[in-house]
């Protein structure tokens, strides 16, 4: 009797689960699945958007791996960007939100100020940064000069162009900050009070209480900024005038793909590129998901 009842309940609960995710399933089938399948199928063709789409087997993929130097250049540039920008912005956002999570005067203003850069978006901002990174009279090098540092040539120097973009990304950590702030607000104050009585200093409290409690969001931030980092495009496009920067140092994966798709109209090739990127990011995400139980702490005990 009980077994059957349980079984019934489980089925019923499972059914509820599907109802919860039903909107997503409908949206996926109607809006997303078609274009995705199309781009997958077209990656085996010479699709050029308007006049041809002939099956050419694995030729696009073969050419990418065997015969395209720029593919490797763009992949290297993108890995470089992801490898530095993800950890730096994650740590930056956590530290910033820790500072912004205290109950002191003016906090609403500070939060707004730090969130501001995340609101500013688009081409105008990147053009603004070109001005700020100008090697001679730009604001960044002017400030560095006050501290006796001779600033680099940023966007004109192949060694500094990518760091310049990472630096710019750090400026707009406000988005990540917001996530951590929302998460930190959920941590019970009694935990800190207890630790304080035990004599833990601010740093110890941060490491032992704050960090573990926000691991679900750290995990989210790492996964999504990894995915987003691999897709860096607009800043590189604008700040290199669509060219890819000195010695192709800003030719990121998506920029190269864009050039193939919308300048050479070799859309089949671009679609093949996108699926290679997909596999790379997918594998990294799965690794992340597999490693998560070791360090992500869900208070709810859920998995």
């Amino acid at each position: 009797m009980t077994g059957r009842k349980r079984f019934n309940y489980k089925t019923k609960e499972g059914l509820q689960g599907y109802i919860f995710i039903l909107p997503w399933i409908i949206g996926f089938i109607v809006f997303t699945a078609g274009p995705l399948l199309f781009s997958f199928a077209a990656s085996f063709t010479n699709y050029n958007i308007t006049s041809q789409m002939d099956f050419i087997g694995l030729k696009n993929y073969e050419k990418l791996f065997a015969d395209d130097q720029l593919f490797w250049t763009s992949l290297y540039n993108t890995l470089y960007y992801v490898a530095f920008s993800v950890p730096i912005t994650t740590v930056g956002a956590i530290l910033l939100s820790a500072l912004l999570n205290r109950d002191i005067p003016g906090m609403r203003f500070f939060r707004t100020i730090y969130y501001l850069p995340a609101v500013l978006s688009g081409v105008g901002v990147y053009l603004l940064w070109m001005q700020l990174l100008e090697p001679g009279t730009g604001l960044v090098n002017t400030v560095l000069a006050w501290f006796g540092i001779a600033g680099p040539n940023w966007l004109f120097d192949p060694a500094w162009a990518k760091p310049a973009l990472i630096f710019m990304k750090l400026w707009s950590v406000g988005g990540g900050m917001l996530l951590y702030l929302a998460s930190m607000q959920g941590i019970s104050k009694s935990l800190y009070e207890a630790a304080e009585i035990d004599g833990a200093n601010a740093w110890q409290q941060f490491i032992r209480i704050t960090i573990p409690m926000i691991t679900p969001v750290i995990f989210f931030d790492i996964v999504t900024s990894l995915i987003g980092g691999f897709q860096i495009f607009q800043e590189a496009y604008v700040m290199s005038n669509g060219e890819g920067g000195p010695v192709n140092s800003l030719l990121f994966y998506n920029l190269y793909m864009w050039k193939k798709a919308f300048e050479a109209f070799d859309m089949g090739y671009a679609m093949a590129m996108s699926w290679i990127l997909f596999i790379i990011v997918f594998v990294l995400t799965i690794i992340n998901l597999k490693l998560a139980p070791r360090w992500v702490h869900y208070e709810g005990g859920g998995k």
Binding site: N48, L70, Q131, E134, P135, G136, N153, F156, A264
Partner: protein, 440 residues
């Protein structure tokens, strides 16, 4: 909770104000599309990227004049942002619902013809051959296998602007601009002004306002990939140009150049306006910036100097065509409008009001004498018209549309001192050749 109530009131207000605009396929939407008629007229969708306070009224006046000139066609102009307009056009062609006429880049016209993104205009040209109206170089850029896929609208070239006061100060004759590369160097040396290690005035730097390719074209008069799909990257003339450019780079040094270059690329602040730069290569329309932003500047213009006497003042330009996207619903009416747009009257109006170079030869020549221009404007415009026959385009080669991604880094390597000009050109040639072979 009070916030939520407040927000929902705001929301309802907004929806009422918008009148559910954007959610109905109402009258306005139906009228805009395809062959739908208003007053028995065919409505044409015309997309341009001319939305600025200056350009928009000019293009809309031309459209209005056209609409009033006949009673069968009504053109509706839509501004679509620069650059993105073509992504949108492409998507709409793929979906089979493109606009009727679009302004697009002249250099890729043949490529778009080959890819069936634009309609073949031959059948109209057989009836009305208007090809003679335009500069030959422009017309040729619209041809793919002998058929035209777009009609040239406006164009540009590169000329040398120089600061007459600075010339005088440096002991140069302000009426005698440099004619050759050697003179450019010589004049620049005289114009340079240094305070210790820091340049207060740079005489000239060839890559402000022009690319490496422009000087190579000026020297060689042959594109990187010629009409026969042969790769012409590593030629003696192009090598000379690269060496010459490198010597300029060494003269001023990377720090000085980068600082000034980024200033100009960010489209704010131009050292030429303040007299900190003696000479600058720019499009003729640069004159309007001088007029508006540095009205007191005493400047002159000259043809792009030649490599050596007798080599020719070959310059580089681009421009735009009016095209009918592939699959557009009203090609006959669109052709009528394009003809009007590129005919002398509309072209001259555009040329004078915008101070822009136009593709129609007669319009360009009569604009140069326009009464609306003052002396300075007349001088610049006249020189631009003079430069046009010597101006080359760089049509996108169908065999390797994206080849610049391969050669630009090689040029960068030269300026960074990582490769010799010889080595860089050799490598660039090999890479472009490989791409051409792959695509053939």
């Amino acid at each position: 909770m009070r916030h939520l109530r407040w927000l929902s009131i705001l929301f309802i207000t907004v929806l009422v104000l918008s009148g559910c605009n954007g959610f109905t396929k109402g009258d306005s939407a139906a009228k805009d599309k395809g062959t739908a008629e208003s007053d028995g007229k065919v409505v044409l969708d015309f997309w341009t990227f001319w939305g600025s306070e200056i350009r928009r009224p000019i293009v809309e006046k031309i459209v209005e004049d056209f609409n009033n000139s006949q009673d069968k066609i009504e053109v509706k102009h839509t501004f679509v942002p620069w650059g993105d307009i073509w992504t949108k056009e492409l998507a709409s062609i793929a979906a089979g619902s493109p606009p009727d006429v679009v302004i697009n880049d002249i250099n890729a016209t043949a490529l778009r013809g080959e890819k069936k993104q634009a309609e073949n205009l031959s059948k109209y040209l057989e009836k009305d051959d208007i090809s003679e109206n335009f500069y030959e170089e422009l017309w040729n850029a619209t041809l793919y296998e002998g058929d035209s896929y777009g009609i040239p609208f406006n164009t540009d070239t590169r000329v040398l602007f120089y600061n007459k006061d600075a010339f005088r100060e440096a002991g140069l004759d302000p009426e005698q601009p440099p004619k050759t590369w050697d003179e450019l160097w010589e004049f620049a040396e005289k114009l340079d002004a240094k305070n210790g290690e820091k340049y207060e005035r740079i005489g000239f730097y060839p890559l402000f306002g022009a690319g490496t390719d422009v000087w190579m074209l000026n020297a060689d008069k042959v594109n990187f990939i010629d009409e026969k799909d042969e790769v012409k990257v590593n030629t003696p003339e192009k090598l000379d140009a690269l060496k010459w450019l490198k010597s300029w780079h060494d003269k001023y040094g990377a720090n000085t150049i980068n600082s000034w270059q980024s200033q100009m690329e960010s489209q704010q602040g131009n050292p030429f306006f303040s007299g900190d730069l003696g000479m600058l290569v720019q499009q003729p329309t640069f004159y309007t910036q001088i007029r508006d932003y540095a009205p007191d500047l005493n400047f002159g213009v000259a043809l792009l100097p030649e490599k050596e006497p007798g080599n020719g003042n070959t310059s580089w330009g681009g421009g735009f065509v009016a095209e009918i996207p592939y699959g557009a619903k009203n090609p006959d009416e669109s052709w009528e409008f394009i003809k009007y747009l590129t005919d002398q009257e509309a072209q001259e109006y555009w040329a004078v009001k915008n101070f822009d170079n136009v593709a129609n030869k007669k319009a360009a020549e009569s604009a140069a004498d326009s009464e609306e221009f003052n002396d300075a404007a007349k001088t610049v415009y006249g020189l631009a018209v003079e430069a046009m026959p010597q101006t080359m385009l760089t049509p996108t080669p169908i065999v390797a549309p994206d080849f610049p991604t391969l050669i630009n880094p090689e040029f960068d390597n030269v300026y960074l001192g990582k490769k010799t000009p010889e080595q860089a050109l050799e490598d660039a040639e090999a890479k472009v050749q490989k791409l051409v072979d792959q695509n053939k």
